[in-house]
């Protein structure tokens, strides 16, 4: 039996965000709020592991009350329980403050539903896009940390050891560690299922457990929200296109244009640097 916690964040679909060209500000109106899609891959893998090894899945989300919708979606997909951690005091959190609150939440989940074996987060979010919350949680709860997981090979329930493939820039690492573990999910991990009808019905009735700062008597107030966040956004701006002094190459025909361009290239340090002047070998 496994107890799996899946962390989900509700995010604006930043692919839909446009910049108002007059004011240079973000147009947020009409931008849909969605479940960060990497998190759904985390949930999907949790469902697969529950099917294989048995157990339960608790989904947690820190966010404003409308984020309840994200949790209902997770319930429709098959999660057992869902917790919304919401409070004005949590607002304005950077990754350090966020990982603190989520780690405290997971501790409370353990008190409520029993010890946790696996925590899933997404690889990163669509809005903050840092990929730092997963490592932050692992560090705070002293879990083994497996980031960028593209495949869970299996879990040996007797020895409580898990084997996964991690996808790195230059290849795939096969790595084994012991539970409890935190994994960050890539989209290659699986294909997210569609919500089955019974799940949708359950979600329609479902009310997530809501925890506020009141529910965490030992919470260190200096570590949450804006106050607990070391990073400060000092300014934001719309980058201007770097205007180069473009020189257009003209000529009576293609050969002349090509020759003019290659002349220009030969006036730089590139031929010497890359040995273009030396004849090709063989």
């Amino acid at each position: 039996m496994l107890h799996i916690v899946v962390c989900v964040k509700q995010v604006p679909d930043s692919r839909e965000i446009r910049i108002d060209p007059k004011t240079n500000t973000l147009i947020r109106i009409g931008v849909p709020a969605i479940v960060n899609f990497y998190d759904l891959h985390g949930l999907e893998e949790a469902l697969v592991l529950r099917e294989k090894y048995g157990g339960r899945i608790t989904v947690i989300c820190m966010g404003p009350p409308p984020a309840e919708k994200a949790l209902k979606q997770c319930i429709s997909l098959g999660a057992d329980d869902a917790v919304l951690v919401t409070d004005r005091g949590f607002a304005g959190a950077d990754t350090l403050a966020t990982s603190y609150v989520l780690a405290e939440t997971i501790k409370k989940v353990e008190e409520t539903w029993g010890p946790v074996d696996i925590v899933f987060t997404g690889k990163q979010t669509l809005d903050g896009d840092t990929g730092q919350v997963g490592p932050g949680i692992a560090c705070r709860l002293d879990l083994e940390q497996l980031t960028y997981v593209e495949k869970v090979v299996g879990i040996d329930m007797a020895t409580r050891r898990i084997t996964v493939h991690r996808h790195l820039e230059d290849g795939v690492e096969v790595v084994e560690t012991k539970l409890p573990v935190l994994m960050t999910a890539l989209k290659e991990l699986n294909k997210v299922r569609r919500a089955p009808m019974p799940g949708m019905l359950r979600a329609a009735q479902f009310k997530p457990t809501v925890w506020t700062t009141q529910d965490f008597p030992n919470l260190d107030r200096s570590k949450i929200g804006l106050k607990g966040s070391p990073t400060i956004v000092a300014k934001s701006w719309v980058p201007e296109q770097k205007a180069a002094n473009t020189e257009m190459i003209d000529g009576r025909d293609v050969q002349v244009k090509a020759a003019t361009l290659v002349d220009k290239l030969w006036q730089t340090d590139l031929p010497a640097r890359f040995g273009w002047d030396q004849k090709a070998k063989g």
Partner: protein, 348 residues
């Protein structure tokens, strides 16, 4: 940077005089460094000079003395080396333990990592342990001079549509991960002098639960991030075949082939060639954009190239705004003509 950050008052900041110097983490696989480390030393040098402090490097691994020497050749004044069998492969626990020890001992004011899988994994753990602020995936790094000495860490936000400058005033060190291919390394100079300091590492293998069983190197992979010459093609190529024509020019110049997302999505070429926001950020010395219109998501991945040449039949294509040289015309005629001309010039 578009405009200056408002001068930061220092009266609300703690006294950070115990923290001095810039530290760069040197990532490697089996003793072969990733170029992002050298790029960060290049940028780190500018920051260190402005703050009038040392530029330091951190090397963690097994049999990695040569990387310390290389770091000096790339500009570090001082290199801290943790060399132990247990550190052969990257694993979060032992690496973060080693890095934390160095950070505690030397108290740098700034620590930089590549925004790679490993860099983010490690920096995320360390920033939480310390604790301190960590700015992710930066593409601009500057500092305010003494007295505030603040790191101005700027990063793209909202699918690259905006930039945000992030500060960390109440904690030290200030930490950031930085995108590969954005900053420029200093020329490697083996006559540079520097100090190498060995740091004891004590952690028993039995204490480390995680074991790396295997690493399957992606063999087919072209290393576009490290390429110094790229000939990139877009939707204008119309199919997979014409990429051979680009490959010929690239081979002649000693470069590799790149692509726009339109070409990758059409299935004409693999994603590992893709330049741009959802592909790779590149900074070659020479970049050809062939049949690429120049969408902003493409430009963010290549606009810092040394010399940009655009070939497009549409004179109003936005790519011409960032190119140094532009040719308006049919790529199917122009590219072979250039290849021919280069061959001639080389006396072939």
């Amino acid at each position: 940077m578009a405009e200056e950050v408002k001068k930061q008052p220092v009266d609300d900041m703690p006294d950070w005089s115990a923290y001095r110097g810039v530290l760069v983490y040197i990532e490697h696989r089996e003793g072969v460094a990733k170029s992002v480390g050298w790029q960060l030393l290049g940028q780190g040098k500018k920051l260190a000079d402005k703050l009038e402090v040392d530029l330091m490097a951190l090397v963690i691994g097994y049999n990695v003395q040569h990387l310390a020497e290389e770091a000096i050749a790339y500009g570090a004044n001082r290199v801290y080396v943790c060399d132990a069998k247990e550190l052969q492969n990257y694993r979060t626990r032992p690496y973060s333990r080693a890095a934390m020890k160095v950070i505690h001992d030397i108290k740098p004011e700034i620590v930089l990592f590549g925004a790679t899988a490993t860099g983010r994994d490690l920096a995320g753990a360390i920033a939480t342990h310390l604790p301190t602020g960590l700015t992710a995936d930066t593409t601009e790094l500057d500092v305010e001079p003494h007295p505030s000495r603040l790191l101005l860490a700027s990063r793209p936000a909202f699918s690259e549509k905006m930039m945000a400058t992030i500060l960390c005033k109440q904690y030290r060190p200030q930490m950031a991960t930085a995108r590969a291919g954005v900053f420029e390394a200093l020329p490697k100079d083996t006559s540079r002098k520097g100090e190498i300091i060995h740091v004891e590492f004590e952690m028993d293998e039995a204490e480390i639960a995680t074991k790396v069983l295997d690493f399957i190197q992606d063999q087919s992979k072209i290393n576009i991030e490290e390429a110094e010459i790229i000939v990139a093609g877009g939707r204008g190529l119309g199919g997979p075949e014409p990429f051979k024509m680009l490959k010929e020019l690239a081979d002649e110049l000693g470069g590799v082939v790149g692509a726009s997302r339109a070409a990758v999505d059409a299935g004409w070429i693999k994603h590992e060639h893709q330049v741009g926001q959802t592909g790779y950020t590149v900074r070659p010395k020479l970049y050809f954009a062939v049949g690429i219109s120049g969408a902003v998501q493409h430009l963010v991945g290549m606009q810092n190239s040394g010399l940009i040449i655009a070939i497009n039949r549409d004179p109003d294509a936005p790519i011409f705004k960032v190119a140094h040289y532009g040719i308006v015309g049919d790529l199917f005629q122009i590219v072979p003509a250039i290849t021919e001309e280069v061959r001639k010039r080389r006396g072939l």
